[in-house]
């Protein structure tokens, strides 16, 4: 069988190498090659998505997961990986090269490839060290796709770390004035979590050994008759959660995020928040819930509390930011809190609610789309005026009608207006939370108020109101005018806008993937 998933993962890597080898002067060739590779990857991913949506005769049931449970039937549902690829690597240590997709990863894979296309297209203005920049973007895509598609824990960890390297270089090499600080802080926070997860993975393989043979294949572990004692589960859960909680991030581990997001160039920030943050939530869903159900049940209140604190606290912080990127960064933490809450909406028996999972995954996709739009718009603003401070703007809607409209749509989507994409996801996720625990549900829902507030504040301060009498915006205008979105920038945003409307009206296809 054609190794479709490997192709999808390694095509960007290969493309990155090709981009590096192109002559430096051929700027257009370099850009279009990178974009072409990203497009090709997106098409492949869409192909896989379509294939997945077909009724598949060769469903390989690899295990039963006592987590994803239908609302009606309390029986365990089975999780299937499709398009499996399996190559023995170090079988004695349980290390194999195995890939597979399930409904969740097929969505996130497609989201990642889509966002890469958009972010590379949005990076066409980059000139400094262009080849390296694009190569790192593509490498980042490779790492992310690997994280979503790997079904062996060792391989998963390899990709998990692999995506950190390009992210580090992208933040630190092309970012703003405090980029070095932000990049190192970002990597160190992540590294502490990742290394703890590494210890967890090593221990997991050790506990799942049978007769001296280790196993790290997800399917084999879920099928295994070995049942981890609840103490072991607890420690391993914490080790894994350390990595995911930093990546998502949950609140006490979040302080790297505003720095990294605000220092990174806008397309990179969009990739980090749109795709990479989802890797953390995905990890919770795929690994923490399935491998350590007992511990997940016991620790769900803790995670949920952290998530709720994150949702409310960061929404309040977003209210008072004057830097637009920091505002969006805090809003991002807040939204990911809702996703986490949805994932950990376990009922009294420790079973996850279908609505919670549905909503969380839906929201992962939606948040990826919305936050990317927002960060890119802020990037466009910054490229025109050189400032991200809200106070410097005002009354720009008259000058930039299209930009203002696009920002308005994205902001409305972000605050969860019914009819736009985020509403369905957030609603479903919170519904799941309500069913399992009303208190967390109420607290989580409270976020609607500050979320609307900070988003309205963003749009109002930037686009409405009075023009400031001086400052960088005026200076930029005097110098060269402030053009509205040009056709290229609009085309970059267009697919996201279409998706915002389409998913808002018709979210069912997405939940189909989650449930199948």
């Amino acid at each position: 069988m054609f190794p479709m998933l490997s192709t999808i993962i390694f095509l960007p890597l290969l493309g990155g190498v090709v981009v590096l080898l192109l002559p430096r002067e051929r700027v257009h060739l370099i850009r279009w090659t990178a974009l072409g590779v990203a497009w090709l990857d997106l098409l492949l991913a869409l192909g896989v998505m379509l294939a997945y949506a077909q009724p598949h005769p060769t469903v390989i049931t690899v295990g039963t997961v006592p987590v994803v449970v239908g609302e009606a039937s309390p029986t365990v549902a089975s999780v299937t990986f499709l398009l499996q690829e399996h190559v023995s690597w170090l079988p004695a240590l349980g290390i194999n090269y195995s890939l597979g997709v399930d409904g969740v990863s097929v969505l996130l894979m497609t989201l990642t490839t889509l966002l890469t296309v958009i972010c590379i297209a949005a990076s066409f203005r980059v000139e400094q060290k262009l080849r390296t920049y694009l190569a790192f973007m593509l490498l980042l895509e490779s790492g992310l796709l690997g994280v979503f598609l790997a079904t062996n824990l060792f391989l998963f960890y390899v990709f998990w770390e692999l995506m950190l390297i390009p992210a580090y270089f992208l933040v630190g090499g092309w970012g703003g004035p405090r980029r070095v600080y932000a990049a190192i802080k970002f990597v160190l926070y992540t590294a502490v979590g990742s290394f703890l997860m590494l210890a967890g993975i090593i221990a997991l393989g050790y506990y799942y050994r049978t007769g001296g043979h280790y196993t790290l294949d997800l399917a084999a572990m879920i099928n295994s008759s070995t049942h981890l004692s609840s103490t072991v589960q607890l420690w391993l859960f914490l080790a894994f959660a350390a990595a995911f909680a930093v990546k998502v991030p949950l609140v006490p581990f979040h302080s790297w995020l505003p720095d990294a997001y605000s220092e990174a160039p806008a397309p990179v920030t969009a990739m980090l928040s749109g795709a990479m943050a989802k890797a953390g939530a995905f990890g919770f869903l795929r690994y923490c819930l399935t491998l350590f159900p007992d511990a997940a049940h016991r620790l769900a209140p803790l995670i949920n509390t952290l998530a709720v604190i994150g949702i409310l606290y960061c929404a309040l912080l977003a209210l008072v930011q004057s830097d637009m990127k920091r505002l969006l960064a805090y809003s991002s933490i807040s939204h990911l809190g809702v996703i986490t809450l949805g994932i950990f909406a376990l009922n009294a028996q420790g079973l996850a609610s279908q609505q919670g999972i549905d909503g969380a995954v839906l929201q992962m996709v939606n948040h990826g789309i919305t936050i990317t739009t927002l960060f890119l718009i802020v990037g466009f603003l910054e490229a025109r005026t050189g400032t991200r401070r809200l106070e410097d703007y005002g009354g720009m809607a008259r000058r930039w009608p299209i930009m203002a409209s696009v920002l308005m749509i994205a902001a409305l989507s972000s605050l969860g207006l019914p009819g736009l994409n985020s509403f369905a996801g957030e609603f479903l996720a919170l519904l799941g939370v309500f069913r399992s625990n009303a208190i967390f549900g109420v607290l989580g829902t409270l976020v609607v108020v500050p979320a609307a507030w900070y988003m309205v504040r963003l749009v109002q301060n930037a686009m409405m109101g009075l023009r400031p009498a001086g400052g960088p915006v005026l200076a930029a205008e005097r110098k060269g005018g402030l053009p509205d979105l040009d056709i290229g920038e609009f085309l970059v945003l267009l697919p996201l806008l279409v998706l915002i409307f389409y998913i808002g009206v018709h979210p069912l296809p997405l939940t189909f993937f989650v449930e199948h």
């Binding site: 000139e127 400094q128 070095v180 160190l188 590294a191 290394f195 590494l198 210890a199 160039p265 050189g386």
Partner: protein, 590 residues
């Protein structure tokens, strides 16, 4: 004693004995050959000796061929060797030794490949001695790794040490190099004395200096004695303590690491590339063999000691590396930290621990030799060029070199898919298997510390301005004036301070470009057309006598870096298929 005299000692070394030490023989022969050829090479006439093409080509090639020959002999022994001990159980030819040879020879090969360009740049003469000593040191390391008797062990140790003392002080015009040689000599002699006294005491306690092999009583030694008398005597305990000191010095475990940064910094970079790996590999294999195999019956007596050494070294090495401002010193402390990880293998022992140790050593050889190889291309005669300040913005000046260094640093930090990760994974797994989960946790957490200083160095190269703040202000002043008056001031951008200039003045233009690189933010990058082409002239202006000519590197350096990178990647991805298995089998035979 009387019995010993009564035994008639007939010294009959069979052909098989010689065959078992074939790699050592090849090296010894080629080392002598190098000295001879050096005599024969043309040195007369108007061409100064250090300019002679033959010296820079024939000698390293010959030395490299010697290494390759030894490598071939090693592989041949893997395939057809019987793995028995040679010379009455004094030298091993088991797979464990051979595996260590692989690491040592890889490091030596890379070190030799890095050498000619370095020697040429620093105008060092006496190349015949250089390569001969290089090979002699390699020989000593191999002997140390293969030693199955305390006598052979000491012989190997002294061979490698004596050669390295001279090599460390080889840059005669540099004080720090001489200091390195002297320091290494004095401290190492102390350590050797400790080791030797430990050997003497153990001989007193057990009556033999031979190690003795597991599973066979062909050449009985300390192991057999301890198996028969597992209760340890005071004499033995003191002996073990002294041995530990000696070995800990050689592997630069804390608190015996004082010499490491000074020596690694002062010595010529190719030598450091070689010795940091080779000495460590040889000494650790010997350490592991003596403690985890020979002294295994009395493991309870030394395990806590080595455990403490390992933990101290892991924590201390990483913490001390945090504050280093010089890349060579930083790598020296990082190598101390890696010695700590490696000691986990000794503590855990058993087949898994030793296999992890062997595999780690092989991976480490490529990573560390590669990293020091990059520094060998940067180091100047006065030992400058490796400070954090000098490395700032290296990416903009010499992107490939910076890329290679970043690659090796990331690999050392333990990022997959490079070899450092595979090695660490395997070692930490061994710690868990051996019942030491605390070592796994400490190792993992200290790795985070390690990540900081590696990333800090990478940040300096890739993300910071091209020159130190003070120097930059001074140098950039005319360029700035030029930019704001004469040239076209294309100022603006998010930071409002992105200055760039197209004026192609020689050095001032370069400084201006360097500044533009520093200030160039992403969104304004389209207005910074010169950002990518920071001229090499800047580099040249800054380099003094003995510096690189033309800013380009010799092809040999590229070859070495490429090989090391290839090895690091291959060891991390495809080769573990069988290298881990091989290490397991090798460890079982140690």
């Amino acid at each position: 004693m009387l019995r010993g005299f009564a035994m008639s000692f007939t010294y009959i070394a069979s052909a098989a004995d010689w065959a078992r030490i074939a790699p050592e023989l090849v090296l010894a022969g080629v080392a002598l050959l190098v000295l001879l050829v050096d005599l024969l090479l043309p040195q007369t006439g108007s061409v100064p000796r250090e300019r002679g093409a033959a010296n820079f080509f024939v000698l390293p090639l010959l030395a490299l061929l010697g290494i390759l020959g030894a490598l071939a002999a090693t592989i041949a022994l893997f395939v057809v060797g019987d793995g028995q001990r040679a010379f009455f159980g004094l030298v091993g030819s088991d797979w464990g030794s051979l595996y260590a040879y692989l690491a040592i020879l890889s490091a030596a090969g890379l070190g030799i490949i890095f050498s000619p360009a370095y020697l040429k740049r620093l105008k060092l003469v006496h190349q015949g001695e250089y390569y001969a000593l290089f090979l002699a040191a390699t020989l000593g390391m191999m002997l140390l790794a293969a030693a199955t008797s305390f006598m052979t062990l000491f012989l190997g140790l002294e061979t490698l040490s004596l050669a390295l003392y001279i090599l460390c002080g080889f840059v005669t015009r540099r004080q720090s190099s001489q200091e390195a040689g002297m320091k290494y000599f004095l401290l190492s002699s102390f350590a050797s004395a400790f080791l030797l006294y430990g050997v003497a005491l153990i001989y007193g306690a057990t009556g033999t200096t031979r190690f003795g092999a597991r599973g066979t009583s062909a050449w009985p030694g300390v192991l057999q004695f301890l198996q028969a008398h597992p209760q340890s005597t005071t004499l033995l305990l003191i002996g073990i303590g002294l041995l530990t000191v000696g070995f800990a010095f050689k592997v630069s475990a804390i608190p015996f690491q004082m010499w490491t940064p000074d020596v690694y910094e002062g010595a010529p970079a190719p030598v450091t590339a070689f010795m940091s790996v080779g000495t460590k590999a040889a000494a650790l294999v010997a350490f592991a063999r003596v403690f985890a195999v020979v002294l295994a019956p009395v493991a309870a007596d030394w395990q806590a000691l080595v455990w403490a050494l390992a933990v101290l070294t892991m924590v201390g090495g990483n913490v001390l590396a945090l504050v280093q401002r010089n890349a060579k010193r930083l790598l020296a402390y990082s190598s101390v930290a890696h010695a700590g990880y490696l000691l986990i293998g000794v503590v855990v022992g058993g087949t898994t621990g030793l296999a992890a140790l062997l595999f780690y050593l092989l991976c480490y050889a490529f990573l560390n030799a590669g990293a020091f190889g990059v520094l060998s291309a940067l180091e100047r005669l006065d030992n400058g060029g490796c400070d954090l300040e000098d490395l700032r913005g290296l990416w903009f000046r010499r992107p490939w070199l910076a890329g290679f260094l970043a690659f090796f640093l990331l690999a050392l930090a333990g990022f997959p898919p490079m070899a450092g990760f595979a090695a660490k994974y395997y070692l930490f797994l061994a710690a868990l298997q051996g019942g030491h989960p605390e070592l796994l946790l400490i190792g993992v957490l200290t790795s985070v510390l390690g990540m900081y200083y590696y990333l800090r160095l990478i940040a300096a190269m890739f993300m910071e301005s091209a020159r130190g703040v003070v120097g930059e202000a001074r140098e950039a002043a005319p360029a700035l004036a030029l930019a704001s008056t004469g040239g076209e001031p294309r100022v603006s951008g998010p930071l409002g301070r992105a200055a760039s200039t197209r004026t192609g003045g020689a050095s001032s233009g370069a400084a201006g470009a360097a500044l533009a690189v520093k200030a160039a933010p992403l969104a304004a990058a389209k207005r910074v057309p010169v950002a990518e082409q920071v001229p090499e002239t800047h580099e040249q202006a800054a380099e003094e006598e003995g510096a690189l000519a033309g800013g380009s590197l010799s092809w040999t350096t590229w070859l070495g870096l490429g090989l090391a990178a290839l090895g690091a990647l291959a060891l991390g991805t495809v080769l573990p298929f069988w290298l881990v298995d091989l290490a397991l089998k090798a460890a079982a035979m140690l």
